[in-house]
């Protein structure tokens, strides 16, 4: 739609992807600050964790993208470090952020599930803005669809990654809507959670489920697996695994807590 927001006289330009990640980051910081006032969490523990999570998420997303697309672009080590050049894969960010989160909470002796609940609404908001960035950039595009499909997107900007002048399923907006739905659900639920970790596990399960189905309409996937006669993308396999683990943990923790409010 608008991959480049503006160009300066010297030729440098601002890409809409990093800009939306920046806006998403700011929105997540504001949301987490508001939530800390409500829950009484300690900012001196949470802000450093948020900084580490952001760095881990961006580098993790960049590393997975470079691994997935190394045959097309033959990325070198320096290219992997140039995350601002574009090319991020969400699940890579999630994996490295999870490892960082586990190490940090263990080191600082923070409540693993309680702190995770604090981070869930800001994470959903961040993903929402990141996907709007995908929409503006024209990446993560959908398969070709009937031009009469009321929600069809047609990219015309020559800088967009998506095929031009073709009606495509609006997968980027579907991902953004999924993240927004998760945000609304966890935001409403957070004051009435029955056990620590409920918000996190509910948010992760719901987003993985929605993302699994949205991926069927996505066209730009390269890493594919044949599972039981069905072709699944790398993202779908990861979503399915995350959904299984998070829903299992949800059931276990709910049973252990007896469903009583905390």
């Amino acid at each position: 739609m608008k991959p480049i927001l503006f160009r300066l006289a010297d030729g440098s330009y601002l890409h809409s992807g990093p800009f939306m990640l920046f806006i998403g980051g700011l929105a997540a910081i504001v949301l987490i600050a508001l939530e800390m006032r409500r829950t009484g969490e300690r900012p001196e523990e949470i802000y450093p964790l948020l900084l580490l999570l952001l760095i881990a998420a961006i580098f993790g997303a960049r590393i997975l993208y470079c691994i997935d697309f190394h045959e097309q672009h033959s990325y070198g080590l320096l290219d992997v470090l140039k995350f601002w050049k574009g090319g991020l894969a969400l699940h890579g960010g999630g994996i490295l952020a999870f490892v960082t989160y586990t190490l940090y909470t263990s080191w600082r002796r923070l409540d693993f599930w309680g702190t995770a609940d604090l981070f869930t609404p800001p994470a959903a908001l961040f993903i929402f803005f990141a996907r709007i960035g995908c929409f503006l950039t024209g990446c993560c595009y959908g398969k070709q669809c009937d031009p009469d499909f009321p929600l069809a997107l047609t990219f015309t900007n020559h800088s967009a990654s998506a095929p031009k002048n073709e009606a495509l399923y609006p997968t980027q907006l579907a991902f953004a809507a999924a993240a927004l739905l998760v945000l609304v659900v966890v935001w409403v639920r957070r004051r009435r959670r029955r056990f620590e970790g409920e918000i996190t596990l509910m948010g992760i399960s719901l987003f993985s489920l929605l993302a699994f189905f949205i991926e069927f309409f996505r066209a730009d996937l390269r890493v594919l697996y044949a599972v039981g006669g069905v072709t699944l993308s790398q993202n779908q396999v990861m979503n399915a695994l995350i959904l299984l683990v998070s829903s299992h943990l949800y059931m276990v923790r709910r049973r252990e807590s007896g469903g009583s409010p905390d």
Binding site: L8, S12, Y13, L14, H15, G17, P18, F19, L21, F22, G25, L26, I29, R42, P43, E44, Y47, P48, L50, L51, L54, I55, I58, F83, W84, K85, G86
Partner: protein, 56 residues
């Protein structure tokens, strides 16, 4: 400098600033160095329960 990199750096620096500020503030609180604000906001009330509102 690349504008896209600049945006990422701004975000990192903002979070770094918030982290350092919150840690320093905590340390000052622990040592009783930082002055507490005179009022925590909201309507003021004296020990006898009278409102600080000067109206009426």
């Amino acid at each position: 400098m690349d504008l896209n990199l600049l945006l990422y750096l701004l975000l990192f620096l903002l979070l770094l600033g918030l982290s350092v500020y919150s840690i320093v503030r905590k340390r000052l609180d622990e040592h009783g160095i930082r002055d507490e604000p005179a009022s925590s906001g909201g309507p003021t009330t004296d020990p006898e329960g009278r409102s600080g509102d000067t109206g009426g």
